[in-house]
Amino acid sequence: MTTKKARKRAPAPRKPVTEPRERSGAYADFMAQAYTMELEAVQRYTEFAEQMEVHNNPEVAQLFRKLATIEGLHAKQILEEMGWSQAPGPAHAQQWEGGEPPESAPMSEVHYRMTPWHALELALDNELRAEKFFAAIAKSSRTPAEVRKLAAEMADEEAEHVRLVREWMKRVPRPDPDWNRDPDPPFLGD
């Protein structure tokens, strides 16, 4: 599995839209929300990796760990950019439309026999949701101008991630039609 996405997502810190002294509370609040989004994605991918390890699917487990690392780098980048030494408040302080952050795939979307392609499909959905999330903020007239600008930049970054994941998926075998067929299923036999 390539680490191209990891390299792309861990560049030098993004050039701040405004100088630190000019940043408003709304800017910090927005970055805190973006940080929480990345952190929750790390936790969700880690949970998926652990599930795959428990169910002896090491290839997908490794991929989920890689995705967690990538999101972790992005979270770290936000901390560095903002000059925060620790997490900016508890994760539950953030509210999300639909209940969960856009980069956290639903818990129900994994299967013990899933393939790397499925894991990337899930990552693609996450990136698409994230792009849509930031694009909506960038377009909202209620959003302060400096936050709109930053949100537009983040939407562009997510669009790039979408492209990279799609590229990644081209290099991974598509699953067989009966990928979830288990020769020794957990169901009671006839």
């Binding site: 630190p20 940043r23 408003s24 509370g25 800017y27 910090a28 609040d29 805190a32 936790q43 949970e47 998926f48 652990e50 599930q51 795959m52 390890e53 428990v54 169910h55 903002m82 925060w84 620790q86 997490a87 900016p88 408040g89 508890p90 994760a91 539950h92 302080a93 999300w96 639909g98 209940g99 969960e100 639903p106 818990m107 129900s108 979307e109 994994v110 299967h111 013990y112 899933m114 957990p186 169901f187 009671l188 036999g189 006839d190």
Partner: protein, 278 residues
């Protein structure tokens, strides 16, 4: 810059143990574990001040997956153990956890009387309408027509209505959550723990292995249209006509929680034994 101050509370992760869940990937119980740990973090509790008690079943494995005190007990007996613990150690935050089979069938009698006793505990039931651990037998909440290898025509039996039963038996707080919204479930558990007396949180938690049809629950679950009521008669009308997919706090009662009359030294086993001395 208004960077939010870092909270002194422990993170949700701090309430998870090193033991990794063995549930099937996709199981709703992962979300409930996440919700419980988030709720404990939101309440700024410490693992050493929380006890989680369970019975038997997939969902009853939860105590092992947390860093809190835990008791993985006898099938259906989580509630009497949790009640006893709360009475003996009122300083602890006590949660009981389990599934629909454990809570409504094997432990059905204890469920009734735990509601009636109204000790200050929180009971979280992960309801998947099936016995998952033992390979998919119909449970008390299984729909009468659900066909399975063991009941090809369905059981033909009317399903148990836990929220109505809880209200009738005296539960002081009744809520329903959906595992597809773990943050929403976390907020319900926070409210349940804060509410005095017996708090009952039923969480619709799909079994992806034996009830793949429950994937449709994410389209069916929706926020309850009306606010919680403290009027039992009104709550009864609502719950009797409920289709099982209204999410939120549905009833907040005002009964005083049970507290033992004997306290301190009089509560010690040695003091009780004196009454039986010959």
């Amino acid at each position: 810059m208004n960077a939010p101050a870092a909270a002194s509370a422990l993170s949700a992760q701090a309430f998870k143990s090193e033991v990794k869940p063995v549930w099937c990937p996709g199981c709703g119980d992962f979300s409930v574990l996440s919700a419980i740990t988030k709720a404990l973090s939101m309440l700024e509790l410490r693992p050493e001040n929380v006890a989680i008690v369970s019975g038997i079943g997939c969902s009853s494995r939860i105590p092992a997956y947390t860093s809190c005190y835990g008791f993985h007990g006898v099938h259906g007996r989580a509630l009497p153990v949790a009640t006893g613990l709360k009475v003996a150690r009122p300083d602890l935050t006590v949660l009981a956890t389990g599934g629909d089979g454990d809570g409504y069938s094997i432990g059905g009698n204890h469920f009734l009387h735990a509601c009636r006793r109204n000790a200050d505990i929180t009971y979280v039931v992960m309801d998947n309408h099936v016995y998952g651990m033992t390979k998919g037998q119909p449970s008390p909440t299984t729909e009468p027509a659900w066909p399975s290898k063991l009941s090809p025509q369905g059981t033909g039996l009317r399903e148990f209505h836990p929220l109505v039963i809880a209200l009738a038996a005296g539960a002081n707080f009744i809520a329903r959550g959906f595992s597809g919204d773990p943050n929403g479930v976390a907020r319900l558990i926070v409210q349940a723990i804060r509410h005095p007396g017996f708090s009952f949180v039923e969480v619709l938690s799909p079994c992806v292995t034996f009830r793949p049809d429950q994937r449709s629950w994410k389209e069916m679950a929706r926020p309850a249209a009306v606010e919680a009521t403290d009027d039992p008669a009104r709550a009864a009308r609502r719950l009797m006509t409920d289709d099982g997919f209204n999410i939120g706090v549905l009833y907040t009662g005002k009964r005083k929680p049970y507290a033992p009359t004997a306290t301190g030294a009089a509560q010690q086993p040695s003091a009780l034994e004196k009454g039986f001395e010959l």
